[in-house]
């Protein structure tokens, strides 16, 4: 899979490159700032971009802004944003244009190599991967939304959906059967007034509701 990495720490850039190359990814370019990232995407047209949030020159949210540019100009490119801290506000920005093919994870997650690579593949395949920390941050902000109608368990399931897990993954995490998960999910769809006809897209819509409820700015 053709990948472009943007990360300003030399150590981590080299580490990520090594990790990806030993596990069957093709690293087309590894750059150290947002401008370099945009140039590399233009040139290599990768399937996947991995970007750090804090990069020169201001070391605030360069990575998020560059990711949004990539989303607009090359919507087919999947993006995984990594950061030392995750912030729900940045997640909301990132998901404001579309909720497919996008991930936002703590850098810590790189340590669990298998799970990280799986997240990368999922995002590249058009899925999402939101860090549990982001989901936790979004959960503290619910205010009088349809989400208030959900039970605690349903909220938990929705949170795991937002992280990008499949039904099987959610069942494993909550130690319940997959059919129980499916039941919860259907209940969530009903409570959020999502029509039954749209199939898999409803998952995305539910997650989007979840995110919207957290940040009125989206």
């Amino acid at each position: 899979m053709r990948t472009v990495i943007a990360e300003d720490s030399v150590l981590l850039r080299a580490g990520l490159t090594k990790l990806l190359e030993t596990t069957g990814f093709e690293v087309a370019a590894a750059v150290d700032d947002a401008a370099g990232l945009l140039a590399a995407v233009e040139r290599h047209r990768p399937e996947l971009v991995i970007a750090d949030v804090r990069m020169p020159p201001t070391f605030t949210d360069e990575g998020i802004r560059a990711a949004l540019v990539v989303r607009r100009q090359w919507p087919e490119v999947a993006i995984m944003v990594l950061s030392q801290y995750v912030e729900e506000r940045y997640a909301a920005d990132l998901l404001s244009t579309s909720t497919t093919g996008v991930g936002y994870l703590l850098k810590d997650r790189v340590a669990d190599v298998d799970v990280f690579l799986e997240s990368l593949r999922r995002v590249a395949a058009g899925g999402t991967a939101l860090d549990p920390e982001v989901v936790a941050q979004l959960l503290v902000r619910r205010q009088n939304t349809p989400l208030d109608r959900l039970t605690g368990r349903e909220r938990e399931v929705l949170g795991l959906m937002a992280e990008g897990r499949s039904n099987a993954g959610i069942a494993e995490k909550l130690v319940v059967s997959e059919s129980a998960v499916a039941k919860h999910i259907n209940s969530i769809f009903a409570k959020l007034d999502l029509p039954a006809s749209e199939g898999d897209h409803r998952r995305v819509l539910a997650v989007l509701r979840f995110l919207e409820s957290a940040s009125p700015s989206v």
Binding site: Q84, V110, A111, Q137, L138, V140
Partner: protein, 427 residues
């Protein structure tokens, strides 16, 4: 011995010391300056009869008029005279916005403003009363001093030339007594001259310099500024440490954890013991990473600067082990210092809830009430928290005080506990 001899020596030398003569010279000059406004008393009598009523009234009024009209100039003159002759710095009254406005105004509003300003009357009090009084003492003492010296010399000569000296013929015993009296005068008056100068300088400092209210106002401004600078410096320092850790230790730890993870995932054919050691190292690296992240984010979250309080609070609310409901209604950005104080107060309050309250839920509300940023942190725990005990709460109160904010805690035994904070947004 020196302790006894030194004052005696000082006394014997007093009339001949440079300082005494310089002070006499100063008294003369200062008196001349006093005559500038006071001399106007005599002006009407140069033209009218002494008993003419308007001129009697005018004699009180004219110096006052001069003190008001020429007050600042007279003060400047005094100040530079004291500086040049006596090396004494009369402190300046602070230049306020009010002064700047009246200086730019045309003549009559400027004078009206001057009449209303207490400083004008304090300065007039010096130029017309306190200064001249001190000078008068100095002039009398100085005159007696100089006359004493002259008389002493004359009488000494009379004693030397005998009772029939052509310039002064008097009995030697009388001349001896006279000379003795002159000597006493010569020794006492220099002290009086120097004392009068000290009084003069004290009056000038008190009346021409800043008033007590002005000095206190100045001090409040200075302290407010220096406190803000200290708070800002602490903030900048936290930011620097955060940045250093972010660029250094954290990246290294991520890299380490990643390499350990990679080794764990790929090296499947290691002996059991090595695999266990690798797994333990991997888990520990991840834990260290998590702990460091929590510590560093607490130092100064970049998102606070970048997106404001609302965005930054999600992070601490989500990390709290006690479930938190967070509601923020702050439609505009408040000053960065206030944002930082509010952020750390919520952070510390939630840490306290987790540590002491045994609560099952907490609620954080932050909202803007005019120029006040208000926040409340409430939990359903066991209560009984006191601001006097527990360093956490003292820290909270100090943080609020660092920006002139108010901190209040309601925590009856048995709970619930509510912390309320008010932070003024205009510093």
């Amino acid at each position: 011995m020196n302790a006894v001899l030194a004052p005696i020596g000082r006394f014997l030398l007093a009339p001949w010391r440079g300082r005494a003569w310089r002070d006499l010279w100063f008294v003369i000059l200062s008196s001349a300056l006093s005559l500038l406004p006071l001399g106007l008393i005599g002006l009407p009598w140069a033209f009218f009869a002494p008993s003419y009523l308007p001129s009697i009234l005018a004699c009180a009024f004219l110096p006052l008029l001069a003190a008001v009209l020429l007050g600042p100039q007279l003060t400047t003159l005094r100040r530079s005279a004291y500086d040049k002759i006596r090396g004494a710095q009369i402190p300046r009254a602070p230049h306020t916005a009010r002064d700047a406005a009246s200086a730019a105004a045309p003549f009559s509003p400027r004078m009206r403003a001057r009449l209303r300003h207490p400083r004008t009357w304090r300065q007039a009090c010096y130029h017309l009363i306190a200064g001249p009084a001190a000078n008068l003492v100095g002039v009398i003492a100085g005159t007696m001093w100089v006359c004493g010296l002259i008389c002493f010399g004359w009488l000494s000569a009379a004693i030397a030339f005998g009772p029939n000296w052509k310039w002064l013929s008097m009995a030697t015993s009388l001349a001896l007594w006279g000379a003795l009296v002159c000597l006493v005068v010569v020794y006492l008056t220099p002290w009086l001259v120097m004392a009068s100068v000290r009084w003069d300088l004290k009056f000038a400092t008190d009346l021409l310099g800043p008033s007590r209210a002005e000095r206190l106002a100045r001090r409040v401004t200075d302290l407010t500024e220096s406190r803000a600078a200290v708070v800002d410096a602490a903030d900048a320092e936290r930011r620097r440490i955060e940045r250093d850790l972010h660029d250094g230790a954290q990246q290294r730890l991520v890299s380490l954890a990643m390499n350990l993870g990679l080794a764990r995932a790929t090296l499947k054919d290691l002996p059991e013991e090595a695999r266990t050691a690798l797994a333990e190292a991997h888990e520990e690296a991840k834990e260290a990473l998590g702990e460091l992240r929590n510590l560093v984010r607490g130092l100064h979250p970049v998102v606070l600067e970048d997106r404001g309080l609302d965005a930054a609070l999600s992070g601490i609310a989500a990390r709290s082990p006690v479930p938190v409901r967070l509601a923020v209604d702050v439609p505009r950005r408040v000053p960065p210092t206030v944002e930082a104080v509010a952020y750390f107060m919520v952070s510390e309050a939630l840490a306290n809830v987790a540590k002491h309250a045994q609560a099952s839920a907490a609620r954080v509300d932050v909202w803007l009430d005019g120029a006040l940023l208000r926040l409340s942190v409430a939990d359903d725990g066991i209560g009984g928290a006191e601001a006097a005990r527990g360093s956490g709460l003292t820290g909270l109160a100090q943080r609020a005080a660092s920006v002139d904010g108010r901190f209040e805690i309601v925590s009856p035994v048995g709970g619930p506990t509510t912390i309320m904070v008010e932070l003024p947004c205009e510093l």
